[in-house]
């Protein structure tokens, strides 16, 4: 069984936010409006965080694109009282919008703040939305799904043609959109896949690895003189 994962090369990331916009378009992530954004309620499944370099303060910035890290031991699913969020067998942490009671315990438990809440009804059905991704109602939590709907589509296609999914058939919107090819997506259980090779790079590290959450989004640090 596949184990979906992602490698993000910080050396290549330019902070252009193409991944953020591609994600919003692909997953019908609502624009909450200026007033709500000022209150700190922006929803951004993929969010580019900026960090100033400790040695060269205010001179060098580091961009960290942060999707849901799809932990193998997710602190968020542990605390959900109603099975509205769970890790599926292929390692994707899912969120059931129709089940969620909006207690926001998962948001409080996630050490990466990858979960977002619908404080109001932020969107209605309108033209231009992706029909493959359901809209979220008021009062529920949402987050990055590794574009799970694309996996379903690819799997149906492969099933109809009586074959397995080929590498590259299932890719996330952010990886597709990255102009610097900083985001590589694929099957971590296949040692030959590009994502697996990159994940074994000496530059590879995980966010807050010491917490034991086992994230499946792996970062590559800037190389010598990079950044």
């Amino acid at each position: 069984m596949a184990l979906w994962g992602m490698v993000i090369d910080l050396d290549r990331c330019t902070g252009c936010q193409a991944c953020v916009m591609a994600c919003k378009a692909e997953n019908n992530v609502p624009a909450v409006g200026e007033k709500e954004a000022k209150k700190g309620r922006t929803i951004s499944w993929m969010q580019v965080l900026t960090e100033t370099d400790e040695e060269h303060h205010e001179e060098k910035m580091r961009f960290i694109p942060r999707p849901c890290l799809q932990c193998d031991d997710p602190p968020c699913t542990k605390v959900c009282p109603v099975y509205a969020t769970y890790r599926d067998p292929e390692g994707i942490v899912a969120q059931i919008y129709g089940r969620c009671i909006g207690c926001r315990f998962c948001m409080a438990a996630c050490p990466y703040n990858a979960k977002y809440f619908n404080w109001y009804t932020y969107q209605k059905e309108q033209p231009g939305q992706n029909p493959d991704v359901s809209l979220r109602p008021n009062g529920v939590v949402e987050k990055c799904t590794f574009c799970h709907h694309r996996l379903q589509k690819a799997r149906e296609q492969a099933h109809a043609e009586h074959r397995e999914i080929q590498p590259g058939e299932y890719n996330t919107a952010c990886a597709d959109a990255c102009p610097a090819q900083a985001i590589v997506f694929g099957d971590l259980s296949d040692p030959g896949s590009e994502v697996s090779k990159l994940a074994r790079s000496p530059r590879a590290f995980k966010l807050q690895e010491e917490l034991g959450t086992k994230p499946k989004v792996i970062y590559l640090t800037e190389g010598e003189g990079g950044g």
Partner: protein
Amino acid sequence: MVDHKDAHEDILLAPIAHTGPGFYWTVAGLSVFILWGAIAYLVQFYYGLGVTGLMQPVSWGFYVTNFVFFIGISHAGTLISAILRLSRAEWRRPITRMAEVITAMVLFIGAGQILVDLGRPDRILNVILHGRYQSPLLWDATSISAYLTASLTYLYLPMIPDIAILRDRLGKWKLFYSVLALGWTGTEAQQRVLNRAIAIMCVIVIPVAISVHSVVSFVFSMTLQPMWHSTIFGPYFVVGAIFSGIAALIVAMIIFRKTYGLEPYLKPVHFRYLGQLLLVMSLLWFYFTFAEYLTGYYGAEPEEMKVFWAKFSGPFWPYFWAMVLCNLFIPLACLVRLGRHTVGKVLAASLAIIVGMWLERFIIVIPTLSFPRLPFPHTVYTPTWVEMGEFAGSLALFALFYLLFTKVFPIISIWEIREGREEGVKEVEERIKSYLPDEIKGTA
């Protein structure tokens, strides 16, 4: 003889028999706040949680703070009452009922906070239909419902003989009291069964009460978040709960003592004993707080320190130091010497502690969420009129419940006072004699 007994009971029955204008004015005053809370909740129900000040990353705020606070207050009653009964403290007699009522009433309010906090209250049944026992929220639901059931039983049982008195002596609501009195006539067999039932409930209710605030703390400590993920949280929350609970009990006692003229029953000695208990709890609370913060500080783990400094000298310093002032210094100043002005001093300390313990809950919930591990832009949580209204409404609703209870049932146990007068004195004398070495016969 009968007349003499009646005179004692008259004071305790007076609030039920007669209702003055003061009652209606109080109800009207409380209703204003309850209305504010109700409007606030309706607005929130219609528009969503967006009408609160909550946001990313402070996704829990006033509601969760109030939840922990109210559930904490509930520890006054049943727990204190059960401990005093089990230890045969004779001075408990006029206090137990008041304490038990607090628990029963405030538990409804506390559990309600979680309902108010939900983004989808319409889906609350999912907790039963799809309940996931690995989640500390389910532990809360279980523990609190067990506590509510036990507390209501424990409140009701010792009330049966009093309800029978109301049935026989009071002209009104005859049917209501007859049903609730369960045919009590005060025979020796009935009394024996009742005493046994009360004793069993005393023993059951203590572990249940302790479990309640332990699992409330587990909601925080089971996560990995800095200054939440602490093994000390269970007992720390229980101590804080009993601490704030006793303070609330004292305030309620002083209010009803004044309004219903219960001075002959609630004497300064009762307040002195409760004040001493409060002082012990204050020191215990400080000990836990000190241990908790010193451990975090000494380890100096960077994520912990971010939250630590935010409380100590950062944006949350006014709340943190107000908490220390209210929970430690004011109680110390008021309670160490209780010789004169006992009631006033104990009242001042109790009011400070109620404020301080609310601040403590606030300072636990908000700062941790305000400082995420990853470099997010800094945000400040400010509650809106909706959250304020809901809090004010909850407090008023609790006061109203309590007030209405005192208009239907005697707030001081009539039969237990009578029992103290008739049997307690003798029993204590015999008990003390049994502690002493037996008299040796035949020596001069």
